[in-house]
């Protein structure tokens, strides 16, 4: 099957050429998105098939002749193949309709299939060279998509920042693979597995891998590019970048840390847990402060990556202490969340795209009341908001519940670091979930509910059929994932088995498809029954009330304590909704400040409120580094204006120094 998968990927890569036909943009759009849809669907099925199959390996005579290009399809790659191509298929279907609004389609169509193919290649590559090639291809093609709308202000800066961080990430991974390959210098993954580094080299490789993959996934403090770059792309590409590409980075982390490096030391788990907890809370807090819908979603991606990394950190912790069941539970939770996030974040970006297509704006303070005009979009986005806020019976709740269950297993860990760290991470996770609920109440409430705040919002039209079908499908996936979590947990069992040597007990055999991660006495959850109970209770109540009580409805102006104001400006805005949370949490973390200036009595001038907050990562992390680089560059600038004799003497000195070094250590 691996050759077929590779062939499919190659066709995907090539189909971008069709997008270059400027003459017939409509036909090009249909060809590109249609073929991507078909290929992605096939590849997703192949990924599912690979979950249960033994690994297959293939060597192609590409790249470096004597090494060749190794490819491998195992359960881990299969699972991510499924997630990536599910997102890819959704984005393609959505793109069929949404692509119509694209002003410069050739800038998107040419790179879109290549981006998809590059992500698939990352998953399939089984040697460092091929992996890094695919990784960089993924970065470059997505960069091209980010700067597709390069005329809009801010997008070029976003593209520059993204390219910079992608370079950093590639460099870190390059060095990590260098350490993994060891002195023998065999870059095949099989050889790395056979000769695992130990001690300092392993620790350094782990930290480099964390930096390299974290920078791509949006792990703090390397997340700063993400909220700039993801919203800049067209919405279905944003969905791919946020929902899928970050998952490729998670895959790379799992591949390196769990597969290539073997058992990481326990302190590494503490580092990952700390970063994950901080990322989850700070990410969602930043999301809450945004008023641009797509930026909000991008920051929320940062949060969800934090949750995934909490799960991965837990798995590392349990693994370091020889508790395979705990590790399998935590890893399953993390991978389940990977799938869930891919689904609901894609759905939400499609919704944001639909809003943008319908109103031309993504500033929430210019929207409102869309629930009346975009019925299906508003319903699908509501489901997505519920899922991302971890509400039962939707899918987001199940993966967070599994993560909590893994945390509750932690007293079995002997290290005191974990005993303190894990309850704290549990509280951070709960805080992140509650803040996410607040964040998406805000996003949904300001965008879809209330009264329209602009003419465009008041006259918005529902989007095309392709977009609606995609959103409805993904909303259904959110519900199905929450009702039948056992299917997903069982599907993930081979992945856990391949990486950890153990698996969770089979769930589907249990009565009523209950989820019992460890033991029935510890905890269990039944999404199906919860859903049935809620559905029954709701319909029974509605029936009973409408049968036995009044069912008359009178329409009247809003009550509003007797003083309704016709101006939509009197509603709560994105900023005012976030004000209490900003005041409680962000005052110290982000130095959020509000300055109210009132005109003196008698003056008819307006009162003003000024809100500021800063990103500590920019102010204390990125800005100083940029400053140092700038200063160093200025200093080194002198070297550009030397005489030829000086340059020669530098070369000579360098040569002599190197020779000396060889003589001394050689």
């Amino acid at each position: 099957m691996l050759p077929l998968v590779l062939a499919g990927t190659a066709v995907l890569l090539a189909s971008g050429l069709a997008g270059l036909r400027r003459a017939a943009p409509d036909a090009a759009r249909r060809i590109v998105y249609g073929s991507s849809l078909g290929l992605c669907a096939a590849l997703a099925l192949a990924g599912l098939a690979a979950l249960g199959a033994p690994p297959t390996v293939l060597r192609l005579p590409l790249f470096v002749p004597w090494v060749g290009a190794w490819f491998r399809l195992d359960p881990l790659a299969g699972f991510f193949l499924f997630v990536v191509n599910l997102g890819g298929a959704g984005a393609s279907l959505y793109g069929l309709g949404y692509g119509r609004h694209e002003p410069t389609p050739e800038r998107v169509l040419a790179f879109y299939p290549a981006f998809l193919a590059a992500m698939n290649l990352v998953l399939l590559a089984a040697d460092a060279f091929g992996f890094l090639f695919a990784w960089e291809l993924m970065s470059v093609t997505s960069w091209a998509l980010v700067v597709a709308h390069h005329h809009e202000p801010g997008n070029r800066r976003a593209g520059f920042l993204y390219l910079l961080m992608a370079t950093l990430s590639g460099l870190a991974l390059l060095l990590a693979f260098g350490l993994l390959a060891g002195p023998a210098g065999d870059y095949g993954f099989a050889a790395m597995r056979a000769a695992r580094p130990a001690g300092g080299a392993a620790a350094l490789a782990l930290l480099l891998a964390l930096a390299g993959t974290g920078a791509k996934a949006g792990l703090m403090p390397l997340h700063a590019w993400l909220p700039e770059a993801h919203p800049a792309a067209p919405s279905h590409v944003s969905a791919l970048m946020s929902g899928v590409m970050t998952k490729v980075a998670v895959y790379a982390f799992i591949r390196i840390v769990f597969d290539l490096l073997g058992g990481p030391p326990w302190w590494a788990a503490v580092v990952v847990l700390a970063l994950g907890g901080a990322t989850a809370v700070l990410g969602v807090l930043q999301a809450l402060l945004q008023r641009d819908l797509k930026r909000l979603l991008a920051y929320s991606t940062v949060e969800n990556i934090g949750i995934v990394f909490i799960g991965l950190g837990l798995a590392m912790a349990f693994r370091a202490d020889g508790d395979p069941i705990g590790a399998a539970l935590a890893l399953t939770a993390a991978l389940f969340h990977v799938f869930n996030h891919a689904v609901f974040k894609s759905l939400l970006f499609y919704g944001a795209g639909a809003v943008q297509a319908a109103t031309g704006s993504r500033d929430m303070d210019a929207l409102g009341g869309l629930i009346h005009r975009m019925r299906l979009t508003s319903f699908a986005v509501l489901v997505g908001c519920g899922a991302i806020s971890a509400l039962p019976p939707l899918n987001g709740f199940v993966s967070e519940w599994l993560t909590f269950q893994a945390i509750l297993l932690h007293p079995d860990l002997p290290q005191w670091g974990f005993k303190v760290m894990l309850p704290a991470d549990g509280a951070l996770l709960a805080l992140a979930a509650a803040l996410a609920a607040a964040c998406f109440v805000k996003a949904y409430g300001i965008t879809f509910l209330g009264r329209p705040r602009s003419q465009a919002a008041a006259t918005a039209m529902e989007v095309d059929g392709f977009s609606r079908a995609t959103m409805a499908g993904f909303a259904a996936l959110c519900l199905l994932g929450g009702i039948f979590p056992g299917v997903m947990i069982d599907a993930l069992a081979p992945v856990a088995h391949a990486l950890l040597g153990t698996r969770l007990p089979a769930q589907l055999a249990l009565p009523w498809v209950t989820v019992v991660p460890v033991a029935a006495a510890r905890s269990s959850y039944n999404g199906l029954l919860i859903f049935l109970f809620i559905a029954t209770a709701t319909s029974l109540t509605v029936l009973a009330i409408h049968r036995f009580a009044s069912h008359a409805v009178r329409r009247s102006p809003a009550w509003d304590c007797g003083f309704p104001d016709p101006s939509p400006a009197t509603q709560y805005t994105a900023d005012s909704f976030a004000q209490p949370i900003r005041r409680v949490f962000a005052a110290s973390l982000f130095r959020a400040r509000e300055v109210v200036t009132m005109p003196p009595p008698g003056d008819t001038g307006p009162a003003t409120i000024e809100k500021t907050f800063c990103d500590p990562f920019w102010d204390w992390g990125y800005a100083p580094v940029a400053g140092w680089i700038d200063r160093a560059a200025t200093t080194l600038n002198v070297l550009q204006f030397l005489t030829i004799r000086r340059y020669l003497s530098f070369v000579f000195l360098a040569l002599v120094t190197l020779l000396l070094a060889v003589a001394l250590w050689g």
Partner: protein, 220 residues
Amino acid sequence: MGGFGFDVAHMLAGLLVLASLTMLYQDRLVALINVLAAHALILSASVAWQAHLQGAPDLYVTAAIAFGFKAVFIPWALRRIVRELGVHREIETVVGIGPTMLAGIGLVALSLEVMLPVTAAADPVARQDIALALSVVLIGLLIMVTRRNAVSQVVGFLSIDNGISLAATGARGMPLVVEISVAFSVLVAFIVIGIFLFRIRERFDTVDLGALDEFSGERQ
């Protein structure tokens, strides 16, 4: 697990830590002093329970001293001082309550992490007493660091003393003579600080220690 005796000792020590954390939470001076009284009360109960567990009658004396001095006399005196000084009731904290509480919990975790492995050989009651006593001492220091008001600094100082007493009684008690002399030295310190407070107030018309900085020689 050491059975019922351990459970009660653990509960009392835990309550002592809780009382320390409650001090961090309080931002009213009178309430703070009330918590200090409760703190000392819990301490004396804990010491009495130790006396019962260890069968050491001299510890009952210690418990009585703790009750008499620390739970009754000193809070009464402090209340008087507050009343006579007419100190405003709000405490100006240097940092907010939230971060302070977080730091307090962090200190508890730290002292547990440091003390429990070190004392692995001792018996369970003493181990947990010593570990929790360290956290009481650290939280006391935290109170002194984060508060500006001189009276609340005194409260922090006294809670440190309570923590030390808990550790000492847990470790099979200290000799009665030492205990009495410690009690008296605390009393003397208390009197000195009390007088000092009145002098500060006379001189600078405030007991906010921030005001003293302005008068220190270094700044001029």
